[in-house]
């Protein structure tokens, strides 16, 4: 992991450097600002490989009758998180001096994919280790040809952050409907609870409140505008996480400059993305409603406010758990509510008052009637009215 972080930092620095030099020369700073690198450089070596491999028709037939397409789309590859690493990072076995003349022995597409996916683990040891214990890895080891390897969820040449959940549905669309058998409001749950929040039961979870623009979809951080992190820090006067008032201030500040109304939508997510690989078999999945719908349930104790960053990764700022049940939440968080988890102490108090009143008023009235019984009897006796 340490190695990955170092690599990560170096890569980002390299990309920024590239951006600064190349685009400043081209006198297009605006473009440069749009992303760390919109169309990052491909090394000469990679360009050489793509000279052949960007041809769509390039393919090879395999002994089992399948065809292995050898096409790699250059643009998406260059824009992917790995674009600047070089083909060799995952294809260390290719020796350019003898390639392609010295063909490799490839039995089937699946066998080839399994071999290549090994490479991911070289840099992502943490993810690989967790994935190795998952139900998918077990099914793959048992020979299930459909069970996903790293590339089955992330792809191989166009890997971008935070797209893997979208691929769950590609393979499991039929299973989603099955949840409705035991889970009411199941479509809503699929919208607001990430699959791993139930299927990686050992991972700690949290509530992520993310900025949404209604019809405009998830709000993405705009270059040039004041960064979200800066606004959040400014709103968080005491620097200990946003409380209900500070959150309202932040939203008012964001909406002042926004082209349309911006609201926060809540999601149950894992506190660490990498834990999403600990997917276990269906029997282990969380199905106890009160693991979320109980006051003070685990996911609701950690809260962040976030926006989608320019690279697709969320930019998060911590908030206090009380904001979920605060009376101000009706205004600040109108689009997030989970029974129990976001219970409001103020409404609890009202409920207690109603109970006390409902019992106290009849009891008090009865007592008064009893106290006045003699008075009534006297009046009735004297023929009153």
């Amino acid at each position: 992991m340490a190695r990955l972080q170092r690599l990560d930092a170096t890569m980002r620095a390299a990309m920024r450097h590239f951006c600064a030099v190349v685009l400043a020369v081209a006198a297009q700073p605006a473009l440069c600002a749009a992303a760390d690198a919109v169309e990052p450089a491909l090394s000469d070596a990679d360009a050489a490989c793509l000279g052949c491999h960007s041809m769509e028709a390039l393919a090879r037939s395999l002994p089992d009758g399948e065809t292995l397409s050898l096409h790699v789309a250059a643009g998406p590859y260059a824009r992917s998180v790995h674009g600047a690493f070089g083909c060799g990072a995952c294809h260390a076995d290719i020796d350019a001096s003898v390639h392609p003349a010295q063909g490799k022995d490839i039995q089937s597409r699946r066998q080839y994919a399994i071999e290549r996916a090994e490479a991911c683990g070289l840099c992502h040891a943490d993810a690989a280790e967790r994935h190795a214990g998952s139900v998918h890895a077990r099914r793959a080891a048992e020979g299930d040809p459909l069970a996903p390897l790293c590339s089955g969820c992330h792809g191989s040449h166009a890997v971008t952050p935070r797209t893997a959940y979208e691929t769950c549905v590609r393979c499991h669309s039929a299973d989603l409907a099955a949840h409705a058998k035991w889970l009411p409001n199941s479509r809503t749950h699929h919208e607001v609870v990430s699959c791993a929040a139930c299927h990686a039961p050992e991972a700690p979870r949290m509530i992520d409140l993310r900025l949404h623009g209604g019809a405009a979809g998830w709000v993405v951080e705009q270059e040039g505008a004041t960064p979200f992190g800066e606004l959040a820090r400014a709103a968080d006067a005491d620097g200990d996480g946003l409380d209900a008032l500070e959150l309202r201030g932040l939203l008012q500040r964001i909406n002042r400059d926004a082209p349309g109304p911006r609201r926060l939508r809540g999601r149950v997510e894992l506190r660490e993305d990498v834990l999403a690989h600990g997917l276990l078999a269906r029997e282990e999945a969380i199905r106890a409603c009160d693991s979320c719908h109980r006051y003070g349930a685990e996911p609701f104790r950690n809260v962040t406010v976030s926006i989608v960053g320019t690279d697709g990764r969320p930019l998060r700022y911590p908030a206090k758990a009380e904001i979920l049940g605060s009376a101000l939440a009706v205004e600040s968080l109108p689009e997030f509510y989970a029974i129990g988890g976001t219970r409001s102490p103020f409404l609890d108090l009202l409920f207690l008052l109603a109970l006390a009143g409902g019992i106290g008023v009849p009891a008090g009235h009865m007592t008064l009637k009893w106290l006045f019984r003699k008075h009534r009897a006297r009046r009735a006796g004297s023929g009153g009215e």
Partner: protein, 217 residues
């Protein structure tokens, strides 16, 4: 009591069958919805049944009561019995009547004053009841049902939830109505028992007939 001693009573038919059927289904349903609602909202404190069971029961009973509500609504819309809700068309008179009734419950009743309201076929409610029931039946109950329906399938009703202001607004309104009904369900039977004998109005809601003092109209 003075007027009771003076005595002659007659039996008048105040609660037609559809109203009685509606009323008892509604009463049991409300109690069940309040209990399951408490279970749903306070899983950490209450252990009558599992959350999931409570949700399913709550939803089924909710739909039953919505259907039941229409028995009540259609009965009043399509019979002249709707007059029981506005025997008095002058708002000022109605308001004064309400005050008079409040004063009776808060003061006169202790002194042994007679109830200022006299039941007749088209005046089965006192002005206070008539006002309270209209607000409850035309505003609070429909609001409770509507918000409950939205919460039942947030995805299907996403558009309506949005118009309402968001899921938290919907749920908060549902909970506020629930709080109101919790108080209501405790006070309502008590008020109904302020008669002579206390079981009189309860019997009337079962048989349909109320015993009333003969009074030259």
């Amino acid at each position: 009591m003075a007027q009771q001693a003076s005595g002659a009573t007659e039996r008048i038919y105040v609660h037609p069958l559809p109203v009685r059927v509606w009323h008892w289904i509604n009463a049991l349903g409300f109690i069940a919805l309040i209990l399951t609602g408490i279970q749903i909202r306070y899983v950490d404190l209450v252990g009558l049944m599992s959350f999931r069971t409570a949700v399913h029961l709550h939803n089924w009973i909710g739909f039953l009561l919505i259907a039941n509500f229409f028995i009540w609504l259609l009965f009043y819309l399509f019979t002249d019995k709707i007059r029981v809700y506005h025997p008095e068309l002058s708002p000022m008179k109605h308001f004064r009547g309400t005050l008079r009734q409040l004063r009776y419950y808060g003061y006169g009743i202790f002194r042994g004053d007679p109830n200022p309201h006299h039941v007749s076929v088209y005046r089965k409610f006192n002005p206070l009841q008539s006002m309270a029931y209209q607000i409850i039946m035309m505003l609070v109950v429909p609001l409770q049902f509507f918000t409950g329906l939205l919460l039942w399938d947030l995805h299907r009703f996403a558009g309506a939830v949005q118009l309402f202001g968001g899921v938290r607004v919907v749920a908060t309104v549902h909970v506020l109505c629930f709080i109101f009904f919790t108080g209501f369900i405790l006070v309502h039977p008590y008020l109904a028992s302020l008669a002579h004998p206390p079981s009189r109005h309860f019997k009337a809601m079962i048989t349909g007939y109320e015993e009333v003092e003969k009074k030259p109209d």
